[in-house]
Amino acid sequence: MGWFDNGWGLSLIVFLPMVGALAVLFTPKANEAAIKALSLGFTVVTLGLATLMAFRFDFGASEVFQFGTSLTWIESINSGYHIGVDGISLPLLVLSAFVTVLAVIYSFNHWPEPHNPKGFMALTLVLATGMNGTFVALDLVLFFVFFELVLLPMYFMIGIWGDKAIMKIPGFNREVETRLYAAIKFFLFTLFGSAFMLLGFLALYFKSGEFVAERTFDIPLLIHLGSNGAFTGTFAFLVFGALFLGFAVKVPMWPFHTWLPDAHTAAPTVGSVLLAAILLKLGAYGFIRISLPILPDMAKDWAPAIAILAVIGIIYGSLACLAQTDMKRLIAFSSVGHMGFVMLGIASMTSVGINAAIIGMVAHGVITGLLFFVAGSMSHRYHTRDMGRLGGNMKVMPIMGGILGFTAMASLGLPGLAGFWGEFMALFGAYSPLAGLNTTLFRTAMVLGAIGTVLTAGYMLWMLQKVNLGEPSAEWEGQHFHDVDAYELTAWVPLVVAIVAIGVFPRLVLGATNDAVVSLVTKAFGG
């Protein structure tokens, strides 16, 4: 298996979906069976390779980048095709490959209007390449390219297949279809952040020339320089700020989150799932992979600000959820809250906190992914997402209602299910942050975060009460609603299993991440 370990395996995981997209593109539009088969085939093989990688991964050396390769790519700026996975990226990579397969299966029976499976599948596959690539890139330019590669497919997915309801543009006296507004808003926000992120990358590149013979974009090398105190002072402060802008928009952290509710609500179901499950992770992953280890001193300086924004995100997201009438929008705002916990974990700068962030991301990926699946299926049947009109779903579609109930419980952090660990450990990390950080501030953040978990439970139960319990509204009387179909079950049962499995055996994730995180924290902060 030499070829597999020497970069080919990883490259295949990244680029097979892209090849699949090309194959789909060259399949006649009318031949839907072939399009389905191709997209399923390519994503399943990708998942297979990712699983194989997880089995071959040396967990005893999870802080080492494995299965990697480093080739010349853009000689003139000394940027290389440098890829590899360590314990931090492996769970996210597997998550990405896993959710993509489920998204493809689900869409077989749920083509949003205007149909066109060919375009939809091609975009999904390109998206997969961007997501997988971001998690394995070890060169800043390569990272940037993959980070941006997800923009185009998601833009088209929201813009073409998204919500066609008319809305008024805030601040303007004009009306547009929601999908158009949400698509461009998503694109502009993310590009704004990443344009400054790129400037930050370039600043690091030029600064590195003072310490090594040839200026470099190489992430491990920059981490080595950063942990030896190469980047300090105003320079590093500004660079961290630039990277912060890029990652914080993507996470999204309050107050950069406003694109998220629009994009999630307007996107077609599969788009929402992929956005929530994977795309939101790219930003937080950027903090852990790039900002923290390369600029440790600045990370410490910025940590209180990150913690404050994270807590605002938790509280604000939860309160916003309570004000929603649209089920999908509620789930979207819940993401703001959950990602707040992830960022609170990161802000603590401890190994507990960062482990919490990663397991929190994986858990949020499977839980919120499933929530969006269910919400999509429900609005597919009821043709509305208005919680005031729903209700009594347990009586109308007991299996779907059951899954919704289960997932909501997981989302509110019920012990024994996946969502618990991220929240619990993030609060634990905030209780005793890295030495030198303001303990009072972080403990206040912890208390507020704990209040946030109560609010989370509050809005999730409130949603369940409105949607699942009670009597079905009179308007659905006499209509027949088909409970979950085979495609839905195939897509959802693996997620349910994953939620339970991670909840009961958090070692599934933490076993991979812990050594890598401890090594990161030790190198960066010496403790």
Binding site: I74, L180, L202, Y205
Partner: protein
């Protein structure tokens, strides 16, 4: 004494000149129904001009200098000649079906086009002020005529007149500046000026001369505030001519700026750097903001091309505050940007020609739903417009990256500020580029759209070839930027870096 002529070095120019004359002669003798042969000969002639370029590139003679250093064939010249020949070739391909449909002056059209291409190819080798001036005028003069080629159309007349008057003014400014430089240094070759003018950077007359020349070139590259001709001329001229104006003619202006500023005035970088800083910041910001309000696709691309010129000027500003290596990097960054811009912008105009044929309009609104009945054109539009916006994996991102890199590498606060301005502008630009793609893919087909037959009419073969070649470059260079940076790195020697 007869000057020593290296015929291989001159072969591309000779090929183009001979082709131009042959086209003109053929036009005299061909019956009206056979005029398309002029197009065939023109396209073939431009293709043949590429052959000696390849021979020169692989020969191990190195730099070939003639006529007392006035005409030099070095790596820079070869790369830029290659670019001019290829973009000329693409424009000719785009012209064939467009020009044929009007059925007049075909021979003259191709003759003038070839003369302009000849001018640009000479320009890449020009290393003294007179050769440079003649070459740049040879690029522009035929364009004054071609801009008014649709003589029955008032807009076309306006396009031609506006372009002519402002162009002549620009040439006068440029020439005025050049005469001062000659008067002060007593030299015409760029190398001589660099040597003689080494200590003159503080001389007011010298500074004035330099600014006059920059203003003159500013017209050619259509940088703000010298851009006023561009939107009207672009809209009125035949679309292939507009494509040529926005790519080859603009690139010619940049080549002149590059060779003059970097090789004749390296010591005065402290003067021209800040001047270009202002031009760059203004061009990006004003053009992008104006582009947001455009409803006509060609006018939108006109403002877009002004904004892109602003991006290309950014590395020049960086050159003022950097070391010798940084100078070379800034130089290469602009070359990289020009090369990528040429392909993506030509592609965008080819899409405009194809799309206007199918939708029957140049109004963006009228392009609604184009993606549903012409998915191929829709896809290509997405590729070129998002490449112009600099979104990976399309080649535009590497152009933006090297531009940002040159700015950040200079290390001064002013350049970081310019980089930040450029970053904000990249976001603004995305909005109007995305709007075109949005209309094509996400809006319904408007009621005014032409009938089914027009909408699904096939794209002319030559136009299809131009689209295909451009998209291959834009996609390939997006994944493998070295395909472009390899060439631009080779040009760095001219900046001494």
């Amino acid at each position: 004494m007869t000057p020593d002529i290296d015929y291989l070095a001159l072969a591309p120019e000779i090929t183009l000149a001979v082709t131009a004359v042959v086209v003109l002669m053929l036009d005299l003798f061909l019956p009206r129904s056979q005029k398309y042969w002029t197009a065939v000969v023109a396209v073939l002639g431009v293709s043949f001009a590429a052959l000696p370029l390849i021979a020169l590139a692989v020969s191990d003679v190195g730099e070939r200098s003639m006529l007392g250093g006035s005409f030099v064939v070095d790596d820079f010249a070869l790369v830029l000649k290659g670019l001019f020949v290829v973009s000329g070739y693409l424009v000719l391909l785009m012209s064939v079906s467009y020009i044929e449909s009007d059925r007049y002056y075909q021979g003259e059209y191709y003759f003038l086009m070839l003369m302009s291409i000849l001018g640009s190819v000479v320009l890449a080798s020009s290393r003294d002020l007179i050769t440079l001036f003649i070459a740049i005028e040879l690029v522009s003069q035929p364009m004054y005529l071609l801009a008014g080629w649709r003589k029955g159309d008032l807009r076309s007349n306006e396009a031609s007149l506006k372009y002519y008057l402002l162009g002549v003014l620009a040439s006068a400014l440029m020439l005025y500046g050049m005469s001062f430089v000659y008067g002060l240094t007593g030299e015409l070759t760029l190398a001589g000026i660099a040597e003689a003018g080494a200590g003159m950077a503080d001389d007011p007359a010298f500074i004035m001369a330099l600014l006059f020349m920059i203003a003159g070139f500013g017209f050619k590259v259509s940088a703000v505030p010298f851009h006023f001709w561009a939107p009207d001329t672009y809209e009125g001229a035949p679309t292939p001519v507009t494509a040529y104006l926005s790519v080859s003619s603009k690139a010619a202006g940049f080549v002149a700026l590059l060779v003059v500023l970097y090789s004749a005035f390296p010591d005065a970088a402290g003067v021209w750097g800040p001047a270009v800083w202002i031009l760059a910041a203004l061009s990006m910001t004003l053009a992008n903001l104006t582009a947001l309000r455009q409803t006509n696709i060609v006018r939108l691309l006109a403002y877009s091309s002004v904004a892109q010129a602003g991006f290309m000027l950014v590395p020049f500003a960086a050159a003022a505050t950097t070391d010798q290596i940084g100078l070379g990097e800034a130089f290469a960054a602009t070359v990289t940007y020009i090369v990528i811009y040429a392909f993506m912008n030509l592609g965008a105009f080819a899409v405009v020609i194809a799309g206007a044929r199918k939708t029957g309009t140049g109004d963006i609104e009228g392009w609604g739903g184009l993606g549903s009945y012409a998915p191929g054109i829709g896809l290509l539009a997405g590729a070129f417009f998002f490449s112009l916006a600099g979104i990976p994996p399309l080649a535009g991102w590497i152009a933006k990256l090297v531009m940002f890199s040159a700015a950040m590498g200079a290390g001064s606060g002013w350049m970081v500020a310019l980089a930040a301005i450029a970053a904000v502008n990249a976001v603004i630009a995305l909005f109007y580029y995305a709007r075109v793609v949005k209309t094509i893919w996400m809006d319904p087909v408007p009621a005014t759209a032409p009938d089914e037959q027009v909408r699904t009419s096939p794209v002319a073969g030559s136009l299809g070839l131009a689209l295909g070649l451009s998209v291959v470059v834009v996609v390939a260079a997006g994944f493998f930027p070295s395909l472009v940076t390899f060439f631009s790195e080779a040009t760095r020697a001219l900046a001494g870096g």
